[in-house]
């Protein structure tokens, strides 16, 4: 029991760090669902591409001896991943989803699965199936650790948490305070009515895709730095987790995505306390099933919205 309690603070930190990344991913998932009412199964693979884009930028820095400027390198990695995934998101929307809009609701879903397979295999061919290592220690000292109430918080975790919160604050401002945000909310409520009001919904959808994908790209870089290596399959489980977090919180709801992500991260870390670590994913999905039984629309989801 004593040993059990001693682990609690650390597992909270573990859970929140991981949860903040899940939250970023779930936000992108929810945003796309909001405007298009479709599940973007390629979201996890966009995240994977983001991680590799960050790795590519980092390699460039390393080759040119610019690694001595860690702040610049980190900023460039984040920017590189955001730009690459935003463009990728726009391209996916334009070529894989837009031609199918207005057709069967299943068609874009299958198209999303196809995009996911294409991205995974392209990444496998480009990396020869090998894991790429992030020399995180060159950017953030690995043994720089703060001890709070028995929990070790490394600089990497602090940076991840800070970046996630910053991204969420910016996203919140964009959605609530800007013209684009208003257009996006209108499109999400009723695309047809929004169009009558003079909103160019096609543009809004495209921009929403770019924004959601950019969040996934940013999450990819953070996970790369945190796990210190990435491979072409990381998108699969990340996509599953993002989907779970979004559904847990109530798909389409922003607050739900954030809460769902954090809950999922915590469930994963605390699951290890009560069960062997190998069951951590099983625990996560058990939590999802329980939530869906008790609250079919998720924690923050509205029934009408889910039916729309």
């Amino acid at each position: 029991m004593e040993q059990f309690l001693a682990q609690v603070p650390q597992q909270i930190v573990n859970g929140i760090t991981l949860g903040s990344v899940y939250a970023l991913l779930a936000l992108g998932y929810s945003m796309v669902y909001g405007v298009l009412k479709m599940l973007n199964f390629a979201h996890g693979d966009v995240f994977m591409v983001g991680a590799f884009a960050g790795w590519a930028v980092l390699s460039l820095f390393e080759q040119n001896g610019l690694i001595a400027m860690p702040a610049l390198a980190l900023a460039a990695m984040a920017l590189g991943a955001i730009v690459a995934t935003a463009l990728l998101g726009a391209a996916i929307e334009r070529f894989a989803y837009r031609p199918l809009r207005g057709g069967s609701r299943l068609a874009p879903l299958i198209s999303a699965l196809g995009v996911s397979i294409i991205l995974e295999n392209a990444a496998m061919l480009l990396t020869s199936g090998r894991a790429k290592t992030f020399p995180t220690e060159l950017l953030i000292p690995q043994d720089m650790v703060v001890h709070v109430a028995g929990a070790a918080i490394s600089a990497t975790r602090l940076a991840m948490l800070g970046t996630s919160i910053l991204a969420m604050v910016i996203l919140d401002a964009v959605v609530l305070k800007t013209k684009f945000g208003r257009a996006m909310r209108a499109t999400s409520q009723d695309a047809e009515a929004a169009e009558y009001m003079g909103i160019r919904t096609s543009l809004v959808i495209s921009a929403t895709f770019m924004l959601g994908s950019a969040l996934a790209g940013l999450a990819g870089v953070m996970i790369g730095l945190y796990y210190t290596q990435v491979d072409f399959m990381i998108g699969f489980s990340a996509g599953m987790k993002a989907f779970t977090a979004a559904v847990l919180g109530g798909i389409g709801s922003f607050r739900g995505a954030v809460v769902g992500g954090l809950l999922l991260g915590l469930a994963e870390s605390f699951g290890v306390l009560i069960a062997p670590p190998v069951y951590k994913d099983a625990i996560v999905f058990a939590v999802l099933i329980l939530t869906l039984i008790l609250r079919p629309h998720g924690l923050y989801g509205k029934p009408q919205q889910a039916r729309a």
């Binding site: 682990q7 090998r130 870390s269 670590p277």
Partner: protein, 396 residues
């Protein structure tokens, strides 16, 4: 008129048929003289552990190129049939079927992983296809009655107890946390280390991860709370081990780490862990071939062609050479080399002197005789040998 025309037709038909037959016959004769002999190379060439697989494949290519330059097998060229199993047992069965169906394949090098070997062995056994694995160490593989199975690496029930002996006698650890990855290799090796430690009164705790895991903080937090002197990593993927060691440092956890032969991989473990693997121990199922004089030529040629040599390169080269040697001994007429006589010749391999630093023979189960287990420590970004134990298996 009609009749004679029909007669002419008959003659023409006959002539054409005769000509066809003749060309077919000569064609047959010529191709029979030149048909290449094929050997399968089964291993993970894509996926998580593809690095190890591809280096092994390159070493096999080198052995085959050299054998072909020396006249192949009785004048027949050797061809490699690549069988990528991605370290996935279900794929291993598929590629085994593919090799089994190609009748010109006379033997297989690999599978490299214990799990893939276990899955594919029934197929190879049915096809009567001799198997020589360079790195599948799970004890069961040669205990299940598969006559086709041979390996040039000592088993986990030699490696595990040797590791435990080192932990007890040299490191004198009191509490050991064992993390395995649920694979036949990782879990199997850990299952050998655990009882040997417990028998000496060492407190042993165990935890599992899976090969797909990338976040180790939950299990490492658990490890930290039990404050072990040593963490034993029963993992198949050195890149995963490196990532785990780095994440442990992020939690302020810096125990002594030890692992099996699968982790002895310089660029993925030592470079991958960026200095944090310093001081870690790994066991090895063979002498580092850089210390073997007979291997110098091979290392030089390999590295000038394919870059840095990794853990199973030397063993893959040796396994390929032993299989080729067996095929050469299989029958005096190179056209009469069959799966059956290659298998018989392979089993009779005695005292083969290659580049591994000890003469290789097989016992009746197909296990290698005379091997040793070595303990290495990471010092200054290199694996430095610290201890050697004879690879002995306690009789079952």
């Amino acid at each position: 008129m009609i009749k004679s025309s029909r007669g002419k037709m008959k003659i023409i038909c006959l002539a054409v048929a005769a000509a066809l037959l003749l060309t077919a016959a000569t064609g047959l004769g010529r191709s029979a003289k030149l048909t290449p002999i094929k050997i399968g190379a089964a291993g993970p060439y894509t996926g998580d552990v593809s690095k190890i697989g591809l280096d092994g494949l390159n070493a096999i290519r080198m052995a085959v190129d050299e054998a072909n330059a020396a006249g192949g097998i009785g004048g027949r060229k050797i061809e490699i049939v690549e069988a990528d199993d991605a370290a996935d047992p279900s794929k291993a069965i598929l590629v085994a079927e593919k090799l089994a169906m190609d009748r010109s394949v006379i033997g297989v090098i690999g599978p490299m992983n214990s799990a893939t070997a276990q899955a594919a062995l029934p197929t190879y056994q049915r096809a009567g296809l001799a198997v020589i694995s360079q790195s599948a160490t799970n004890p069961d593989l040669t205990e299940m009655g598969y006559t086709v199975m041979h390996r040039i690496c000592p088993r986990d029930d030699a490696q595990g107890p040797a590791s435990a002996r080192f932990i007890i006698e040299v490191l004198k650890a009191k509490t050991v946390y064992i993390i395995d990855d649920k694979t036949t290799y990782g879990q199997g090796l850990s299952d050998q280390v655990e009882p040997a430690l417990k028998a000496a009164g060492v407190r042993v705790l165990r935890g599992q991860i899976s090969m797909e895991d990338r976040d180790f903080s939950p299990i490492l937090t658990r490890v930290k709370s039990s404050a072990p002197d040593l963490v034993y990593l029963g993992l198949a993927n050195p890149a995963q081990a490196a990532s785990l060691i780095k994440q442990a440092a992020g939690l302020g956890l810096k125990p002594v780490f030890m692992g099996g032969d699968g982790l002895k991989e310089r660029d993925q473990l030592i470079d991958g862990a960026a200095g944090l693997a310093e001081g870690m121990y790994v066991t090895s199922i063979g002498r580092d071939i850089r210390e073997v004089p007979e291997a110098r030529d091979f290392i030089r040629k390999f590295e000038s062609k394919y870059g840095a040599l990794s853990v199973f390169g030397g063993q893959s080269y040796e396994a390929a050479n032993i299989l080729i040697d067996a095929a050469r001994r299989a029958h005096s007429d190179p056209m009469k080399i069959t799966r059956a006589n290659v298998l018989a010749a392979l089993g009779k391999t005695r005292g083969y002197k290659g580049i591994l630093g000890f003469p290789i023979s097989f016992d009746s189960k197909g296990d290698v005789v005379g091997a040793s287990i070595f303990v290495y420590q990471v010092k200054g970004k290199e694996f430095v040998p610290v201890k050697e134990y004879p690879a002995t298996v306690r009789a079952k």
